[in-house]
Amino acid sequence: MSIEHSLRIENLTLGYGDRTVIENLDLQVPPGQVTAIVGANACGKSTLLRSMSRLLAPRAGRVILDGKSVHRMPAKQLARTLGLLPQSPVAPEGITVADLVGRGRNPHQGILSRWSPADDLAVADALEATATVSLADRSVDELSGGQRQRVWIAMALAQQTDLLLLDEPTTFLDVSHQIEVLDLLTDLNRTRGTTIVMVLHDLNLAARYADHLVALAAGQVYARGTPAEVLTEEGVRAVFGLDSHVIIDPTSGKPLMLPIGRHHMQNDPQKGVRTGSVGKIVLVP
């Protein structure tokens, strides 16, 4: 099981050029849980994640891991504790799956060290956990979107970190692959206790899979807590500028956001939704 780490953000201000994206943000990442960060486009979700993994230096404030500022830790030491899967990772042409996953062992290997049995074991373990063993000798270019994403997760796993940050791991995947990836991440969290922080653009998936939900708006944390606490109609209006109904999803028991647009509304939204001609959902107003 993983060691519990404390990851805290204090008074963080981030920006690019003369644009400020995040201002005076405080956040505590609950250890051993799955946290999802949601918000409108360009609200700073990816920026925040990148700062947490030290890719972006803060203008003010700190990111503190186990009491030490992330920006002062040696790179490899940080990489042994915190892994990141960025938004569009690049795979060199012709690289095999086993090779790519093997790259994840870099933080554990010094300049002169050769491959140890422990390294091989870690790689094998990562392949097993992501069900990609059968793909080990295939070239990464040939894989489907879902398979490729699993391989990247395997690489992050081979790093054997206790914290895993993922920047939009489900964007560009079709829905079955999205569920596949999110289920895998949940497995990792439940069986190994890996703390997971992921940026998701799909609000409903975030509500279903997260233990802890953080909603960002205008560079600040608008709300944080359990999905039931955060995903409310006022919340959706404040963060996304969208009117909605929030109901309980009968499949998962978690909140489900139903957007209200200008068309295709069966009844007056004030009175609640009745059964449409499609679907078995009957909702009580």
């Binding site: 690019y16 050029g17 990148r50 993994s53 030290r54 890719l55 790179a75 490899k76 030491q77 940080l78 990489a79 042994r80 915190l82 892994g83 990141l84 899967l85 960025p86 938004q87 569009s88 990772p89 690049v90 795979a91 060199p92 042409e93 012709g94 690289i95 095999t96 086993a98 090779d99 790519l100 093997g102 790259r103 994840g104 870099n106 933080p107 290997q109 300049i111 491959w115 049995p117 091989d120 074991l121 790689v123 094998a124 373990d125 392949l127 097993e128 063993v133 080990a136 000798d137 070239s139 270019d141 992050a156 790093q159």
Partner: protein, 351 residues
């Protein structure tokens, strides 16, 4: 269940280990083969020529004996030339593959992003307009090569270096420098022209030990540093963000790598001129014979050395006229280059 899974993992680990060992073996044999071919080629270029010298004479000269008839031709003419061919080829091979790996694009070769152009422009200008001597020209060429890379780096830095921007800016600067080279050459007097042609395409004619020595020193000093960074280079292939997440200090590593690669290329260009396409082609060729996975630095260097050695030999004896090595690599390399571009674009672009 847990035991089964554990056993499964161990078996997988073994399979992975085996496949890695197999690949390492292939690499080692390819590298060994290349070294062997280069040594044989070296000896052959010393033996064959206008006059043929038997191996015994050649080996004698190499070890410093005074063999009548052979000492001058082999020792003073052919030996420095063959040595520089190998040294320059090693430098170009290393430099080329480094840039291609770092910029994640096999078409991003130092040939076209300005470094060779900078060194040759400085050298051409120094020879024709300033009428400087050999050493001064070398120094100037090296300084220019480094200065141009610094310029390209700085100009493409906008909160980090985007590979695309660096390549495009390099192409722009190369065009500017090429025009300066061409201009200097138009100012050249007749007898200067042959000498100056070297700065257009690269030539090993009339090589002396004075020219080969700086390249040797550069290789000894810079190559180990570069090879030491090979793992960091491999990580940056995965994208800057991923590399950073894996514990690589990306900007620092990139700086070291650029400085050493540029140094190697500048020294080699100062001695032999911008031998066309060696830097461009060594990496892709090495990649095909060694296979994916594993560092390409050493194989690429060896391929470069072999290319220059063979091309120079062919340029001297295979065709009617004596062609400088740069023209041979240019013309023979061109079709492979085009093929490479087509293949790169079609498949997506990385080395």
């Amino acid at each position: 269940m847990k035991l089964e899974r554990a056993v499964g993992v161990v078996t997988t680990a073994q399979t992975i280990r085996n496949s890695r060992t197999r690949r390492a073996l292939r690499r080692r044999s390819v590298v060994g083969l290349l070294v062997g071919i280069i040594v044989v080629g070296f000896i052959v270029t010393l033996m064959v020529g206008q006059t043929f010298y038997p191996p015994a004479d050649v080996i004698g000269v190499i070890f410093g004996q005074d063999v009548p008839g052979a000492t001058f031709t082999v020792g003073r003419l052919r030996l420095p030339r063959a040595s520089l061919a190998i040294l320059a080829g090693l430098c170009f091979g290393l430099g080329g593959v480094t840039f291609q790996t770092m910029l994640r694009n096999p078409l991003a070769s130092p040939d076209i992003i300005g470094i060779s152009s900078g060194a040759s422009a400085a050298a051409a200008f120094a020879i024709v307009t300033l009428s400087l001597g050999d050493t001064a020209v070398t120094v100037l060429a090296i300084t220019a090569g480094l200065a141009v890379s610094l310029l390209v780096y700085v100009l493409s830095f906008k909160g980090g270096v985007a590979g695309t921007r660096l390549i495009l800016i390099g192409i722009g600067i190369a065009a500017m420098l090429d025009s300066i080279t061409a201009y200097s050459l138009t100012q050249a007097a007749e007898w200067d022209l042959q000498n100056a042609m070297r700065w257009l395409t690269g030539s090993l004619n009339g090589t002396s030990w004075n020219q080969a020595l700086p390249v040797f020193i550069a290789l000894i000093v810079l190559a180990p540093v570069l090879v030491g960074q090979s793992r960091n280079l491999a990580m940056t292939q995965l994208g800057d963000d991923t590399a950073s997440a894996l514990g690589v200090r990306v900007e620092r590593s990139r700086l070291i790598v650029i400085v050493t690669a540029v140094g190697l290329i500048a020294f080699a260009t100062a001695a032999a001129g911008p031998i066309a396409f060696v830097a461009f082609l060594s990496g892709p060729i090495a990649s095909r014979i060694v296979g994916p996975g594993g560092s390409l630095l050493v194989p690429s260097a060896l391929v470069g050395a072999l290319l220059v050695l063979v091309a120079d030999f062919c340029g001297q004896y295979a065709f009617g006229t004596r062609f400088p090595v740069g023209v041979v690599t240019g013309v023979l390399g061109a079709p492979y280059l085009i093929y490479l571009i087509i293949r790169t674009n079609r498949a997506g672009s990385s080395l």
